[in-house]
């Protein structure tokens, strides 16, 4: 058993509507169930959807922390969208930050209208790689579709976080949390998506 960060600073980021907040909820309920202190700060904009969203999740042994992670001090960033991952990295990453990134773009309005250009996926990947040494890129939306619905990409990403080896508690706490938060076919879908994500990242680092 290796040493864990104290506190573990985790950022979950994406676009409103991707189920970002729900993912941070699963992580933090699981952390609290596992006996850890947890502080979560949610940042989302005016409307329910469409803007950048970011959850700061801080997990610690004894001491409570504030809901905001200082700049440059994230240990892991789970990005549900490539551009948003990079945006958050600019402020919060350092060379040791672990990046877990969904490869599926969600195009900002300016890109749809042709006023801005969405960077080429391989360029975003190169930029991320230039910044950090450990990065997992996974097709979370496609994996979620295979599991039953593209909407479950958030649970694929949660599974990937659980499989990263960075959290000080085991997958069983996640499974129990998902079981307690959802029911019926949504529960089955989310458990399946979680497992797919976990197994994807638990493979050797590329």
């Amino acid at each position: 058993m290796g040493a864990f960060y104290e506190p573990l600073n985790m950022i979950i980021t994406g676009v409103g509507g991707q189920g970002n907040v729900l993912a941070s909820q699963v992580v933090s309920v699981a952390a609290a169930e596992a006996g850890y202190r947890v502080a979560v700060g949610e940042t989302f904009g005016v409307s329910q959807r469409g803007g950048s969203v970011m959850s700061h999740v801080r997990i610690s042994r004894d001491r409570p922390y504030g809901p905001l992670i200082p700049r440059g001090r994230a240990h892991v960033i789970a990005g549900f969208e490539p551009l948003e991952t990079l945006r958050v990295m600019m402020d919060y990453a350092n060379p040791d930050t672990v990046i877990i990134m969904n490869d599926r773009p969600n195009y900002p309005l300016g890109c749809l209208l042709g006023e801005d250009k969405y960077p080429r996926p391989q360029n975003i990947r190169a930029a991320v790689q230039k910044m950090v040494s450990r990065m997992h890129v996974l097709p979370a939306t496609e994996l979620a579709k295979e599991a039953g619905s593209p909407m479950a990409a958030n649970m694929v990403m949660t599974g990937a976080l659980a499989g990263s080896g960075l959290l000080p508690f085991g997958r069983e706490y996640f499974v129990e949390t998902i079981k307690s938060l959802f029911k019926d076919h949504i529960r089955e879908l989310n458990l399946k998506a979680f497992t797919v994500g976990l197994e994807h990242v638990a493979l050797p680092v590329k």
Binding site: S24, S28, G50, G51, S52, P64, N94, L112
Partner: protein, 641 residues
């Protein structure tokens, strides 16, 4: 973060709660009997949580029509001896202000707590109003939780304080507490046996200057109690020469910033859990020892101004102190002092400059190198109406009808998801935007300017929840004075922006009881204004309806009714919408990529490889409006029902 946590019956256990759930738990531990609110971010989930538990805890919970009515209802419960809670965002306090200022004079009986959600940084508001200044003007005590745990503890404490003072107490909670989550150590739940008593002898009156004197006495007592309150705390060396005075989550930021700077051992941090009235004796004790004082609070220099006034009154006791804060510009974020949120970085930077320690804000050092790898500039992500949002279709119809009309018609609006009519996703349609219902009042005014040569048609859009909350007086006024404008009610059959709360037009109440629905058509008919109803998803019909009504005179109402796309698909299988690649002829069509570039629904994307339109199935909510607008009829809707 679960309802099970909020109602957990094991005191001493730790559960993960959001700040809003923590407030609700605090109210349950205090034995709240009556809770009312109008939904507003960041505090919208407090009442929602209590409503879910209403039956179990024998409490009454309602989504009121607006904040003033909510506060009056909660006051009534307090007059009858119950503990009552009213919840609103800062903007809502403005709505309730008239009653609140009278209530402060009359006082209350059962503990009454007013939770006000302030939104520093205006994450989910049109402005970042600091309600503490209003609370001071109201003569009401203000408590400020610093963390999710404190949200519960402070709320519970506020009930006792209110009861002992016979005065409502404000819990001022900021977004970083309401929308934060954390583990919360639970206390004991109060028993749920209570009776409302208001007899023929009871009188609760706001009248006479004597009551003003009594109110001042209550505040003096509150200041004494504040001095001994465990809601204040101090962290650091004894007799600190360097002192940070913090309130709300800035306390947590200050502790972390000092740690980052290696100054924790040298600097004291005084957290004020009660920021009005000031705990003067307590403060003077620290001020006497201090030579330098920094203020960490959001948004306005409220504690700062009042502490400096206190120090000025006691100049002979406190000696020379150098104050640092917003007034001298030394505590400031990227937008300047007193503007926007603080965070650990802003405080670390401010404190390091004040005390000449070395600190650089550690964002990525060489951003240019990374951005060069992108090959493009990093695109911003601006706010967008959801895929399938009926407002987009309504805005499109209004825009088209105004173009057909050709007289340069003006469009006004106010607060709701449709506020996004001020930005690109809403085609920049809205030309005024202020507060709940203001569009109708402004339209009523513009509609009387014809005698001054104003000849443009005026349309104001208003949401259904806003219609009940604030549009009715302006509509009555418009009818009475024959103001010339058209009101379009964007009726998505819910309070969408804050999380789909019901309103008087719905069949169920907050607690799921059957309601006596108040139909907006009946209200409009009652006022005597002509109206029509149309489905915005039927764009040609809606456009025609807007155009035809534009040609009429006097006040008139068009209801564009279609359930919020998110509410409509919740828990259901969505329609599958896709582009038939055989029919989409891409850029040779001449439509100018209508679906993605012009109509601009975020689910309508462009596939650069094939040179054709595509539907992003991870985003699409299946409304099918784009299919009716595509000139090639290349978009296919497979309906699930």
């Amino acid at each position: 973060m679960t309802i099970m946590g909020v109602c957990c019956e094991k005191p001493g256990s730790k559960v993960a709660l959001t700040g809003n759930e923590s407030i609700a738990r605090g109210a349950l531990e205090a034995g709240v009997g009556y809770a009312s609110s109008y939904p507003g971010s960041p505090t919208a989930e407090v009442l929602g949580t209590l409503a879910k538990l209403a039956r179990q805890f024998n409490l009454y919970a309602e989504w009121s029509i607006n904040e003033k009515v909510a506060m009056e209802g909660a006051a009534a419960a307090s007059f009858a001896g119950l503990r009552s809670l009213v919840i609103m965002k800062a903007d809502g306090l403005n709505v309730a202000l008239d009653f609140a200022s009278a209530l402060a004079i009359s006082g209350c009986r059962g503990g009454m707590v007013i939770v006000v959600g302030d939104d520093p940084g205006a994450h989910s508001s049109v402005r970042e109003e600091d309600s503490r200044n209003l609370c001071k003007a109201l003569h009401l005590p203000v408590l400020e939780p610093a963390s999710v745990q404190e949200a519960k503890d402070v709320t519970r404490e506020a009930f006792s304080l209110s009861e002992s003072l016979q005065l409502p107490v404000v819990v001022r909670c900021v977004t970083r507490v309401c929308h934060a989550s954390g583990d919360v150590l639970l206390g004991e739940l109060a028993p749920a046996n209570r009776r409302a008593v208001f007899t023929k002898q009871d009188r609760v009156i706001t009248f006479s200057i004597k009551l003003h004197a009594l109110l001042e006495q209550k505040l003096a007592r509150a200041a004494d109690m504040a001095g001994n309150s465990r809601l204040n705390s101090y962290h650091g060396p004894g007799d600190a020469n360097r002192l940070v005075i913090a309130s709300g989550p800035c306390y947590m930021y200050a502790l972390e910033a000092l740690e980052m700077l290696g100054l924790s051992e040298q600097v004291g941090v005084l957290k004020l859990g009660i920021t009005w009235p000031l705990p003067e004796t307590l403060l003077l004790g620290y001020l006497k020892a201090a030579g330098e004082v920094v203020f960490a609070e959001e948004v306005e220099p409220f504690v700062e101004d009042n502490v400096m006034a206190l120090a000025a009154r006691h100049w002979d006791e406190v000696g020379r102190i150098k104050f640092y804060g917003k007034r001298n510009g030394r505590v400031a974020g990227p937008h300047g002092p007193g503007i926007g949120e603080l965070d650990p970085d802003v405080l670390a930077q401010s404190l390091s400059a004040i005390w000449s320690t070395s600190y650089t804000r550690p964002a990525w050092p060489n951003q240019k190198e990374i951005l060069d790898l992108l090959g493009e500039k990093m695109p911003d992500r601006e706010l967008a109406l959801c895929a399938g949002c009926p407002h987009r279709a309504s805005f499109w119809s209004i825009r088209t009808a105004l173009e057909l009309d050709g007289r340069g018609g003006i469009v006004l609006g106010d607060i709701g998801c449709y506020t996004l009519g001020i930005v690109r996703t809403g085609y920049y349609l809205l030309q005024t935007m202020h507060c709940m219902g203001a569009g109708v009042g402004i339209a009523s005014g513009l509609g009387k300017l014809d005698c001054f040569g104003f000849d443009k048609p005026v349309i104001t859009v208003v949401g259904d929840s806003t219609f009940y909350h604030a549009a009715l007086p302006a509509l009555v006024n418009a009818r009475y004075h024959r103001a010339n404008f058209m009101c379009v009610v964007l009726d998505n059959e819910t309070t969408a922006m804050t999380g789909h709360q019901p309103h008087p037009g719905r069949e169920l109440t907050a607690t799921g009881e059957p309601a006596d629905t108040v139909q907006m058509e009946e209200l409009i008919r009652g006022i005597g204004i002509p109206y029509a109803v149309q489905d915005p998803y039927d764009v040609p019909a809606a456009t025609e309806a807007v155009y035809l009504m534009l040609q009429q005179q006097g006040p008139r109402v068009l209801i564009l009714r279609r359930t919020c796309a998110l509410a409509a698909v919740k828990g259901k299988r969505k329609n599958r919408v896709y582009v038939d690649p055989a029919k989409c002829i891409g850029d040779s069509c001449g439509c100018g990529r209508f679906c993605s570039k012009v109509f601009a629904c975020p689910a309508n994307i462009w596939d650069a490889e094939s040179g054709k339109a595509r539907i992003d199935e991870a985003v699409c909510n299946g409304c099918g409006v784009c299919a009716t607008l595509c000139p090639q009829q290349a978009i296919v809707v497979e309906r699930t029902v």
